[in-house]
Symmetry: C2
Subunit: 324 residues, 2 copies
């Protein structure tokens, strides 16, 4: 019986992951899944054990891992926009809480006589990169983030890498592209509009486009993100040769191309619900983000995503439209 | 009157820097220099105020910076070998204490109504890089360290960058190559032998070479390191465009070339004092270190070093031989 802990299990990807595990189990066998978060919305993956708590509380991490989960998905974070507005909270939640989790796992490793060494899959982000960029970002490009969120993710990658190198845990960091189309409400992430310009019109609602439509960005669907996490959890980490942070594949396209794909699928009336209204704060953050990747390593390791933005829209229609 | 704080002021580079500031002042004017460290050796830069303390103690950082120094050199760290042996101490001293210092400076920034924004020069290291490497490491190469020391330095760089981007401090991270020839006793750094194979024979003492002599490495003298720090403290950081971590120039040479330079300067009898005795632990750490850099940015910004290893030996003879 595989014990799986999803930290940040109340979030969108955590819920998708929990739903997939409830449906498929883990590698053909049963899984006991525990979801941990500061709160849980209505509905969702109710089949699993839920624990409400905050990893920034003293002792919370130690209590959380004292049953020694085999696999830990560390998805907990506040989003980029909030981390940019609240410097203290960003570093406390996105970095120090991550440290506490690793330290708690290390304590179990030591207490076990070094036999316990859980797989840890960390949801990092392409926000670890900052402009200026080459046309396509290779696997050896430097992490020079231009947001606090990106800096916090990059720090956690380094920590996970060192804990893994020492054999305390067995980690993989997955640098997610922007996840589109997110179901549910807009959040404080500066990237939120990439989803809302598709989601809101498909639900008959107006949407604001806060940047010019020539902005290019890399996307993958929630389904792909869940797939990345599952693939990372089962990966032979020996193949990583110590470089455990991986750029994920995705669809690189402009906002204009996103909108054109929406027009082809849903028609001009739906597209007409998008209104341009530039937000300089969002535009500034997004201008420092990567546009395109050449994720040779991840692809060689078997990570896959959509290849056209229309597939990403279709994934939203199949999985989430009408449910959110 | 420029107020300068050297954290880690009891160490080799801290002492050299203090000596230079005592002799030259700061940019032609007087400087009040405070040295902070867990301890100070005999002699050294006695002209300055010394404070003995440990930055890992609660409140220590806040007390240390409450007079708002204009320039802070953050040189405090335990060395690579010790950080590798003592995981907890490495992260506490090399990372968390660095965080405390930045937080204390930010508190002064806030208390000042955002007018206080000190220059912070952080002594980072080429240990932020890990093999495999290209033949020469460019300025955009990824930080994938293979030691805890390197991971801690890389994390501190990211923190300093984010504090700087937010305008709390005005930081520069200087990635030092191995500093050779270090005066004084061997330390626990895995790189210590690069100095001792030159220093000990020049002082008539035997030295152990723990790696094969084909090992290639990048070096700069203590005098160059001090020069890097002084140059970084006066740099127009606007030129860095947010990428505040700089690879420093140095001399890339093999151990055999180091020994040949020693032979030319001091003769075969001196070289005969070096004995080979491989240490697998040291060899393993060093094998993951960079060998050569192409530090285009730092050179364009005016950072300079020796260009031949013989100049590095001569610098030791001029500055330190007979004094240590």
């Amino acid at each position: 019986m595989t014990k799986i802990l999803i930290v940040g299990g109340g979030g969108m990807i955590g819920q998708k992951l929990a739903g997939r595990l409830a449906r498929d189990g883990w590698q053909g066998g049963p899984a006991v899944v525990t979801l941990y978060d500061v709160g849980f919305g209505d509905g969702g993956a109710a089949a699993h054990r839920r624990i409400t708590g905050n990893l920034t509380d003293p002792g919370a991490a130690a209590m959380l891992v004292d049953d020694r989960p085999d696999i830990v998905f560390q998805l907990a974070a506040i989003v980029s926009g909030e981390a940019e507005q609240d410097f203290d909270k960003g570093w406390q939640v996105n970095m120090f809480a991550g440290w506490s989790l690793l330290e708690a796992l290390r304590a179990e490793h030591i207490a076990s006589g070094a036999s316990y060494c859980p797989r840890v899959v960390f949801s990092s982000s392409i926000a670890v990169f900052g402009a200026p960029f080459p046309e396509a970002i290779g696997d050896e490009f430097l992490t020079a983030p231009l947001t606090s969120y990106g800096a916090q993710k990059a720090v956690c990658e380094l920590m996970l890498s060192d804990f893994s190198r020492k054999g305390f845990v067995d980690g993989v960091s997955i640098r997610l592209p922007t996840i589109s189309v997110r179901p549910g409400k807009a959040n404080k992430a500066a990237s939120s509009f990439f989803s809302s310009i598709i989601r809101e019109p498909l639900n008959g609602r107006r949407a604001i486009l806060p940047v010019v439509d020539t902005v290019r960005h890399a996307h993958a669907s929630p389904k792909s993100a869940t797939g990345f996490m599952m693939h990372a959890a089962a990966l032979d980490t020996g193949l990583l040769k110590g470089r455990i942070s991986l750029n994920m594949p995705g669809v690189s396209c402009t906002v204009a191309e996103q909108i054109e794909a929406l027009r082809e699928i849903a028609g001009a009336d739906v597209v007409a619900l998008i209104r341009s209204q530039e937000d300089p704060d969002v535009a500034k953050i997004v201008s420092g983000w990567p546009r395109k990747f050449d994720p040779v390593r991840a692809q060689a390791l078997g990570f896959t995503s959509e290849t056209e933005f229309s597939q990403i829209i279709q994934s939203y229609i199949d999985e989430d439209l009408g449910r959110s």
